[in-house]
Subunit: 260 residues, 6 copies
């Protein structure tokens, strides 16, 4: 069920109480020597699709606006970034439109670490703006599934960062033609401080801007050499299962009434 492939009467007929809308967000940014710039959005969309397949027809996927916050990758050609203000406005307009049509549960499914802060802010601001009309949930799919992913990974800390064991496996499974494993560079970056981690599923408590090329010439953080398509299939399954479990629960969340 993709919103962009449905007619308006079909969308109009959706049950407003049962339907959960999913907006995948990602990024267009460098993903090392071996992976395409669209990786994050490809993955957020694929995980959303796979979760929807598990949940059934009450999940409808909105088209992803593709771009996200990637200022930290801008020293590499291929990266395109929105400002935080633009991304907040863009997602805000999309959510406002579907709430206007009566939809009551919208999940923003993020596939890009750099968007984590802004979707947290969006959860607050949109949740407050549409209080009484709709619930907005924002999450990053690999954080949601992090226990399963951690149990499954082969690389040590730092091996899953960016264009790494995890993302490369998923892309090998989903879009093998877009991955150039022969060009992959393995790189465990050294942040020079224990307070900054580059691991995708074990991020830093302290938040600070790091230009990726200050830590990695190739743009890779981690170990794409450990990636396989088969592993990607498993990562996809565990990500989709975690997301599906959440979406099922989310569809039952009550909508509080606005105070007079």
């Amino acid at each position: 069920m993709h919103w962009q492939d449905m007619t308006w009467p079909e969308i109009g007929a959706l049950d407003r109480e049962r339907t959960v809308l999913v907006l995948p967000v990602g990024s267009v940014e460098q993903h090392g020597h071996h992976m395409p710039t669209g990786t994050d959005t490809y993955l957020a969309t694929a995980v959303s699709d796979a979760a929807a397949a598990l949940v059934g027809p009450d999940v409808v996927i909105l088209p992803s606006p593709w771009y996200g916050l990637s200022a930290h990758h801008m020293h590499f050609p291929g990266t395109i970034t929105l400002t935080a203000e633009t991304m907040m406005a863009m997602v805000g307009d999309i959510v406002a439109s579907v709430v206007h049509h009566g939809f009551r549960r919208i999940a923003v499914v993020n596939g890009h670490g750099g968007n984590a802060g802004v979707i947290d802010v969006l959860a607050s601001t949109l949740g407050h703006r549409f209080y009484g009309a709709a619930r907005i949930a924002c999450l990053t799919y690999f954080t949601l599934a992090r226990d399963a992913i951690m149990a499954s990974r082969e690389s040590k800390h730092g091996g899953m960062g960016h264009a790494c064991e995890f993302e490369t496996s998923l892309m090998l499974h989903l879009h093998p033609g877009l991955v150039h494993q022969d060009r992959a560079v393995v790189h465990y970056p050294d942040t020079g401080t224990p307070w900054l981690s580059t691991d995708l599923v074990n991020g830093s408590i302290v938040r600070s801007f790091v230009a990726f090329d200050d830590l990695s010439e190739s743009g890779t953080f981690g170990d794409p050499g450990l990636a396989t398509g088969e592993k990607g299939e498993r990562f996809l399954a565990m990500s989709a299962e975690a997301l599906a479990a959440f979406l099922k629960d989310f569809s039952t969340w009550p909508i509080p009434e606005t105070r007079p």
Copy 2:
């Protein structure tokens, strides 16, 4: 050549003087009883792809951010609209990013009548902002090809408006599975004034907001009954040819130097 499918070294190796970047923009909005909400973006992307195929590897297509200005369709479920300010910021950020990487000619290829004003403003504001660094060209593909389209159409004035002979033909050719011709409604809307036209390729000189449902219960403006896939193939060809001709010319436009 799709930007989202290329690695950063591949994008980094593109010849900045010869490469033309194309950003397709469209909308997510009602397209009658028989066509999907993603129609405009599907078409802007398909025409861009087809034109790129004609021109060759110097054209690279950016991923479309999908959403556009559709306030005039908001009475129909399925429509999602950005504000003009959001769209200006979103396209502005995308263009700023690619200009930062040294690209010098960017064409915004629009597939939605409701975006015509805002891309005109973007041509001015971005052209001025990046004067000396890059040229920005903005166009609507069916306006660019309007002479050929006019010569080819069967419907009379008003038959090509929205979800009409033209758009339905293109979708029947490109995405037949998404078109439900059996549900198509033929409707020549009456604006009640000679000063407002609903024709896609013969628009109004006077600009004024019209809510689509004030003129059409189904959301259709025009005659989808005249649509065929074969006709869509021809419309695609003529649109792609017009766009290709422009892009070839555009790639030779000089970049003036900034005044000191």
Copy 3:
């Protein structure tokens, strides 16, 4: 009937159903060696006044805020430009104020090519914002009257661009003391591409920023040598007639009701 010359009880007594308000917008920008920077606003105001005289007391003219979008002329001293955001806010505030007072039909009458995109956006955004309360129409007077003007012109394509046969004639008729015909420079600019036209009434389908001094040292596009006051009188009459015809029609447009 000029708004700025009326008392509040006089304005309060205007029939809200019959009155059409006209807001002339233009620019303050270079107009060649022989014409004053205020030309566009002088002309938009004069055409509005002349049309109002034809229609009668139901048309009331608001004072023009003088400034418009003129970034493409900023290499010439004398040019003053607003940003698109400022112009949208400024016109938006003016329209919001008169709608607050119950006025229901507002026409923005533009006299400057560089404003064409922004008034198109304003037609959409203000039309949507005040849907159910008021209709907003935006137009450029010389585009409205372009058939008559084309039939009347002597210059070939390119002769009517900026500070040209057309504008100089009008100014010679209306403000002869501000025109220095002895300094006028005739210049048919060469854009170097068939896709960019400089003709006032036959503009480009492709929109792209052009700094005027890249095409014309004097700032003139066209043939002021063909201008005469007598021709200006005729251009004024045909512009006013076209505008008057529109305004009469506009005064009868229905105001749709807001959806609940």
Copy 4:
């Protein structure tokens, strides 16, 4: 010397060190039963013109954008208001344009009490923004000349507020055809507190929003019955003299150099 009446070569030839540009700002708002809504802008412009005549050709007057901050008059039809943000953007764009052309001394001459705060903010923000390039001075003409005006007035405290002895006299002198003395209402408003004054030239230290119709049914604050054209001629002369004295001094203010 009016900017809008000069050609660009004439403006280009102005001595950047000696020229002072004047931007008159006012309002479009109710001025009682007897005075037109354009009063404040008419007066700011007339005083600017008269001062320029006293100083000579080094003063050039920019066209007034007419509108100002008039939210406190919005309960009366005829009032049009900008928001503070719009006015700051609008004046900011105008000043930025002329500074771009090398002008170094710009005076904003205000004729409307409601603009006093915003021009104070503009003096700070624009002065800071263009530090090292230009000086910006902002003033209200009747405050500048308040000692002379106070010495000349006949009304007691409260008689000069809005559409009063002062403004009506000036309009009787300058635009007698726009004044309807037979409809004038004399009204000394009672603010109910010693902390809020309604006097034009003896304003309140405490600033607080007052809707004019809460204090005056007619919209008048003061005594238009004491107004005469002869008195207006004197008020104009003393206002112009004060402004001319300032402008002469202003033209000699040094432009500090930016810090490295």
Copy 5:
């Protein structure tokens, strides 16, 4: 009664009709060689507290957001400035929150000359925005008490400007440990024009940006040598008395009803 020290049930129990909320605003900026950067906020807060003590429990003091508009001091280290837009948004959000909770009279008590314009604009914009719900009053405490201060000062014109006889006396009384009288520099700045005054309580009618270091190497305007703690005690008393008198009056101002 400090808002930040009360529980929500205590604040919830406050009488909405009788309570006046006070928001002290100041600045963090250079105050000469001898005074701390927090001076203005320390003083605005102390005067607010002292006035509240005189009025009684119906005055509740909000915590000061500390920062203000100090661009004119930015050439000195230690100065921190907000933009005007940020300050307007910040105070606007605070006032909107307390009006949401039903409070009806809010006084912004300013202790920094550089904030005078922006609080004037805030009085207008917030007063208009919350018309019918709350009254907003904005004032600068030393302007409110200027007659008493003038009668009490020893320095001649120019001696009370910044980090001067007045402010230093107050700080010697309130925070003697933060004042380094041995480093104080006496400086009567020369603006070079009669139209710009540097005196705290006799400001300029003409408003124009002045970088403080263009007039004073030390950052002092005036005569801290005349300051004593005993004098500061008196200045505090007269400031608090003036403010208390106003707050008592303010608590009785009627709240007009919104128009339908």
Copy 6:
């Protein structure tokens, strides 16, 4: 070392390479029946002070702007909230000012869960904006110290949420006069879903807006009954130690050079 208590020459003399500036941010919002609205800012400031005492004179504390993002508490009187845009602008202006004065390492120390997203965004946007000039680090003190806090707590999951064992203990130690333990309500809220946690140091992966009064009538999340001043002393020590350890490390972070 408090910025607001230093003179500008003292601040000017600070070693730009060694000095770390700390900006404490918190909130003004309901903290149950027994704690003051200023709790979060009091605590962020106290932890910052205590950490500075451990590190030594190279840490300078900026004054806290007091207010934060508290929309989720707005149903309780006493809560004051900024919008996300305002907070981003406010912190952005403060950081821009100190970077202008040459400071190179700025830590935003947050004491309020509701600010977590926005400080994450600020870390990215300010880090990018000032890349090459300064490093910006953003953190929440109780997350930084969460391992020690977890080891020390007595309450089970849910007992540390808001106005709870943790915050009440700290306030009992720091400001016992502002805590009313006799009014404290113990409440373990039930979110109704495993995907939303209310625990201060074990937050939700899924982010979604929750109005506090939908889960707690008193506004308390957790167990203030377990709070003691002695425990607060320990919580303060472990928080300060964690922060001090970070600040020492932060002071050695390299400042990368801007790319040409």
